[in-house]
């Protein structure tokens, strides 16, 4: 049988075996609703408390600043919509960047329909937001500024600390979508100074369907899901205890091994680029340092990213593309458009995202496959 090589770790990651083991008891045995008053609910309640403490420690936050959600999309929606809903009568202005995840961009679009205005900051050819652009875009009615920590398509890491300082100089709330970054690069919310931060568990070897929103103490938060009193009355819904525990275990494990993982992944990345060059495969690498370890966005001039994806898939290799067939034409992603990449390069863009489970053998096999496909 063909060996499967998973090289799309930016899309999702393999669930960590220890995280899975830690989850089982909360699904099969200790299944009580943590909000109940009887003794059977004590253990899940304690597990949630402990998970909150672990996660807070991983990003240098306080436990009461961590709100569990269903994932990055909900966290992003909550951050944007909370800022707007709390100030709806003032026709809020939102600032974000042109390369945000759709969870942010479409939340902003939904708020535009309610009468808000939105400024999308451009990025340079490396995918970086200019602090000066941010400073000149802030209006008196700006209620939230949201710029991602690291981009999911090209890996570029934004100058979040600097952007946050500018936001605060103007007395504005700063949110960052750190979905792609948490568990992969050091995140210290106190050092960054962010007011809110979104994270998604399945991006760091935890289960799907769970995430969190960090909200700095003192920042006004508007409830997003109404119902019961869970999450300090801010996010209703019976807690997904197993997923929350799995998230804490996986995050702690990734953070504990952050340097080791980074070293391994950067080693793979360097080998990959070296192999491309030694095999004389002409390419353009998108994004720029500082970048997420292992996230490699490559453009092949005049080639077809979708064709590359399917051909690699038939060889047992899972990668991603920056352009998708939309029935009759190739849709270029909004991120590649924002980089002002030529159509010929954008159309030939793929994303290879290596993770801690990838090996040197994987990298060599990917380059061999790529060479074959590009030669056809």
């Amino acid at each position: 049988m063909k060996r499967h090589i998973y090289a799309d770790n930016a899309a999702t990651t393999k669930l960590d075996a220890e995280a899975f083991a830690a989850m089982k008891i909360w699904l099969l045995d200790e299944y009580a609703n943590a909000s109940q008053q009887y003794s059977f609910a004590r253990k899940p309640r304690a597990a949630i408390k402990q998970a909150r403490e672990i996660i807070a420690e991983c990003i240098n936050a306080e436990p009461q600043e961590i709100f569990f959600t269903s994932g990055g999309t909900e966290s992003d929606n909550w951050a944007i919509k909370s800022a707007v809903l709390a100030n709806l009568n003032e026709r809020p202005h939102i600032i974000t960047s042109a390369i945000e995840h759709k969870a942010i961009l479409n939340s902003c679009a939904a708020m535009q329909n309610l009468g808000c205005t939105v400024t999308k900051l451009p990025v340079d050819a490396r995918g970086v937001v200019s602090p000066d652009d941010l400073a000149s875009s802030i209006l008196p009615q700006t209620k939230i500024i949201s710029v991602m920590t690291a981009n999911n398509e090209i890996g570029t890491i934004q100058p979040v600390k600097k952007l946050c300082e500018i936001a605060h100089e103007h007395g504005k709330i700063f949110h960052t979508d750190a979905v792609q970054a948490v568990g992969h690069i050091p995140i210290d919310v106190k050092n960054l100074g962010v007011d809110m931060l979104s994270a998604s568990a399945h991006k760091f070897n935890a289960p799907k369907g769970v995430g969190f929103l960090y909200v700095r103490a003192g920042v006004k938060l508007f409830p997003y899901l109404d119902g019961g009193a869970q999450e300090y009355g801010m996010r209703a819904g019976t807690e997904n205890v197993a997923a929350i525990v799995g998230m804490a275990v996986a995050l702690k494990k990734n953070i504990s091994a952050l340097e080791t993982n980074q070293k391994h992944i950067i080693g793979l990345e360097k080998l990959f680029i070296r192999e491309l060059e030694e095999n004389n495969i002409p390419h353009v690498r998108n994004g720029a340092e500082p970048t997420l370890p292992g996230l490699i966005s490559l453009s092949f001039d005049g080639k077809d990213g979708e064709k590359i994806l399917h051909r690699m898939d038939l060889m047992g290799i899972s990668i991603s593309t920056g352009s998708a067939c939309d029935g009759n034409k190739n849709q270029i992603s909004h991120v590649l458009k924002a980089l002002n990449l030529s159509e010929s390069l954008a159309k030939g863009t793929i994303r290879i995202s290596l993770g801690k489970n990838n090996t040197l053998e994987d990298v060599r096999a990917i380059v061999t496959a790529l060479k074959k496909v590009l030669g056809d």
């Binding site: 077809d304 399917h310 038939l314 067939c325 029935g327 056809d376």
Partner: protein, 65 residues
């Protein structure tokens, strides 16, 4: 339009086979394969190509209309 022939075995191709070659080799390809020869050329299982055809149709790819 003249029927395309498999460049390996000479078999006349059905529409899906020709569309799959365009999808996986490029719309400007001059080389067309029947599904058996294509599976051999790509070193994959024929069934994987059949599933791909189905998926491309479900996605609404106009090559398969």
């Amino acid at each position: 339009m003249k029927k395309k022939l498999c460049c390996e075995c000479g078999k006349a191709l059905i529409k899906d086979e020709a569309a799959l070659c365009k999808k996986l080799l490029g719309t400007d390809t001059d080389e067309f394969y029947c599904i058996d020869c294509f599976a051999e050329y790509l070193e994959c299982d024929k069934v994987d190509l059949e599933i791909k055809i189905q998926e491309f149709k479900e996605q609404g790819c106009i090559l398969f209309l």
